[in-house]
């Protein structure tokens, strides 16, 4: 609003002649300011209404679902009895809860650690100048751009027990076939592998753009001082990349936490609960069977939001501090 005030044309000295004109002027200014504010609101209001209707309201519905005892019938009729925190208690006491929480953490942490490692190595590699580097870097984006159902089903076929190419490769080097997606020991690792493949491009692109902001003369000075490539990475690249790294890792955490499609398409969270995460468990409770348990499903979803929000707020704080 201060901006609009400064922009207004300066009052001419003649205006001070009469107080009448001055009050008219003030009224005029007030009207103009009001109109400016209304125009601004006309631009923002659709977004605010949109967020209220399509973010806040679904979230409210979700909390509401988790606090009532819903059945298919009461879902349609809308007369489900209030049940307090029963759904949360039921979910926390469920034998699936701890495995799902553990799998969510393993899936998320292992995924982002390896995505970040591979992405950083590739970013450093692509930061060297060589022919075709721009083109190859663009091609690296493909896994990230593909619809998840496409990449998930491709990986499912590669890892297929009988006819998958991975087991054929193992057969060539004399290793017995592995039930990648159908054995409890391997299912989680397999979905993590596919998820890392999808996440590498995102890490590569952001870290690469971070690298380009590091001044080249730092490296020149370092190599004049006789620092080798590893020392340059340890002493220059890694420390100066820390702010970008923090953002990539936190965003990666929040996004990996909610991965659903990939796991559901490859293993449906199975066998048993061996690759079930909070996201797939929530879906399975709410939609996965003929007897949906909306209340507990929503409760699991809300627990997932809580975890995401903690790290999301951390991300916002880190980002704010960097902008300041």
């Amino acid at each position: 609003m201060t901006l609009a005030r400064a922009d207004r044309p300066q009052r001419s000295p003649a205006a001070s002649r009469a107080t009448a004109t001055a009050t008219a002027d003030a009224r005029d200014a007030r009207r103009r300011r009001l109109r400016g504010r209304l125009t601004t609101w006309a631009f923002v209001a659709p977004l605010v209404l949109y967020l209220a209707a399509f973010y806040l309201y679904p979230l409210y519905r979700n909390v509401d679902l988790s606090l009532h005892h819903y059945t298919v019938r009461s879902f349609v009729d809308g007369d489900a009895p209030f049940s307090g925190l029963d759904n949360f208690r039921q979910v926390l006491g469920d034998p699936t809860f701890w495995p799902a929480l553990r799998n969510t953490m393993v899936f998320t942490l292992v995924s982002i650690a390896l995505q970040y490692g591979a992405g950083l190595a590739l970013a450093v590699f692509f930061n060297r100048r060589f022919r075709l580097s721009g083109l190859l870097r663009a091609l690296f984006l493909i896994p990230w751009l593909l619809p998840l159902i496409v990449s998930s089903s491709t990986w499912a076929w590669l890892l297929n027990s009988e006819s998958g190419l991975v087991n054929f490769g193992l057969h060539l080097v004399g290793v017995a076939p592995v039930d990648w997606l159908t054995s409890p020991a391997w299912a989680l690792n397999s979905v993590i592998l596919a998820n890392i493949w999808i996440g590498i491009p995102f890490n590569l692109v952001i870290l690469h753009s971070g690298l380009q902001n590091i001044p080249a003369d730092l490296y020149e000075a370092a190599s004049l001082d006789g620092a080798n490539a590893w020392q340059q990475f340890r002493r220059i690249t890694f420390p100066l990349l820390r702010p970008v790294s923090a953002i990539v890792l936190l965003l990666g955490f929040v996004y990996t936490l909610k991965v659903f499609d990939l796991i559901w398409i490859m293993t449906k969270g199975g066998p048993g609960d061996s690759s079930t995460t909070l996201a797939t468990w929530s879906y399975r409770l709410g939609f996965g069977s003929l007897l949906p348990q909306f209340g507990p499903g929503a409760a699991v979803g809300n627990i997932l939001i809580l975890i995401a929000l903690v790290f999301g707020l951390l991300y916002i704080r880190v980002q704010r501090r960097q902008e300041a």
């Binding site: 631009f43 977004l47 979230l59 679902l65 590699f125 909610k258 939609f287 997932l304 995401a308 916002i316």
Partner: protein, 274 residues
């Protein structure tokens, strides 16, 4: 940093090998989509499509065309809705400094953290209440929630950089906020419009969670459900499944060829994907 040509050639070779490794699953999808059904479980598998068949693609044309058209419609609808909401809001947040603008920005960041599955369950309840289940335009509304926060952030970032002289000149010519937005700021923000449209389309096209929860019984179902149904029903016909996957990947491939600049810009602008 000047690198000797010979070393650069070696680096290019390493780069090619790395890229080939990374893209191998994509190549394999293409290869399987062209493999005849009887060779599918052959050992050793053919590493190249020596006897290519297009029967998989014929199956796509036969079974999946309605799904593809629905996805196109939903993708375009999502782009329109996203632009309609996010471009004016981005302009206001970047240039008009509304009261509470900071709160809106934080709300947008937080909105991006909400898991899709939670949104899906909330929408499910609302859609059942309002009788919107299994409608294509209900799906457009749901899909747009993936893109709108991202869109506003891109527009804010871009429109903040529009030179003050331009808007000041428009004001001198007597243009109000609406005119300044429509005839000055929006045209020079073409790049932002392209980036937001690209990602809105791609995310709507790729969406599976909303489609499967909100539109699984409709007459108008998107291609992701077409593939999912294929996997569920006849999990023997892998060349048809992979052919559908190839066709479903075409928009992403096209984007990369035609608009790589915008894609990279979108990813770096703090892009989102779940």
């Amino acid at each position: 940093m000047i690198t000797p040509v010979r070393r650069s050639r070696g680096t290019t070779a390493i780069g090619l090998v790395l890229t080939a490794l990374m893209l191998f699953p994509v190549y394999w999808m293409l290869n399987v989509s062209l493999t005849p059904q009887q060779d599918m479980r052959k050992s050793p598998p053919d590493l190249f499509p020596l006897h290519p068949t297009f029967s998989g693609y014929q199956a796509v044309l036969r079974d999946q065309l309605p799904y593809l058209l629905t996805s196109l419609l939903i993708g375009l609808g999502t782009v329109a809705l996203t632009l309609l909401i996010s471009a004016p809001a981005g302009y206001a947040l970047a240039r008009l400094r509304p009261r509470g603008g900071g709160a809106v920005s934080i709300a947008l960041l937080v909105a991006q953290m909400v898991p899709g599955i939670v949104m899906a369950m909330g929408f499910y309840g609302i859609f059942v209440d309002l009788g919107l289940m299994n409608t294509w335009w209900g799906l457009i509304v749901a899909d747009s929630t993936i893109a709108v926060p991202f869109g506003v952030m891109i527009f804010v970032a871009f429109m903040s950089g529009v030179p003050d002289e331009l808007t000041a000149a428009a004001k001198m010519d007597g243009a109000g906020a609406f005119r300044t937005f429509w005839s000055v700021v929006l045209p020079v923000s073409r790049n932002a419009v392209v980036t937001v449209s690209l990602f809105a389309f791609l995310w709507a096209w790729s969406d599976f969670v909303f489609a499967n929860t909100l539109d699984s019984g409709g007459d108008w179902r998107p291609i992701t459900l077409g593939i999912y149904r294929y996997i569920g029903n006849n999990n023997q016909e892998w060349n048809a499944i992979m052919a559908t996957a190839v066709v479903a990947s075409l928009p992403a491939a096209l984007l990369l060829v035609l608009a790589q600049r915008y894609v990279a810009a979108g990813v770096t602008a703090g892009a989102v994907k779940d």
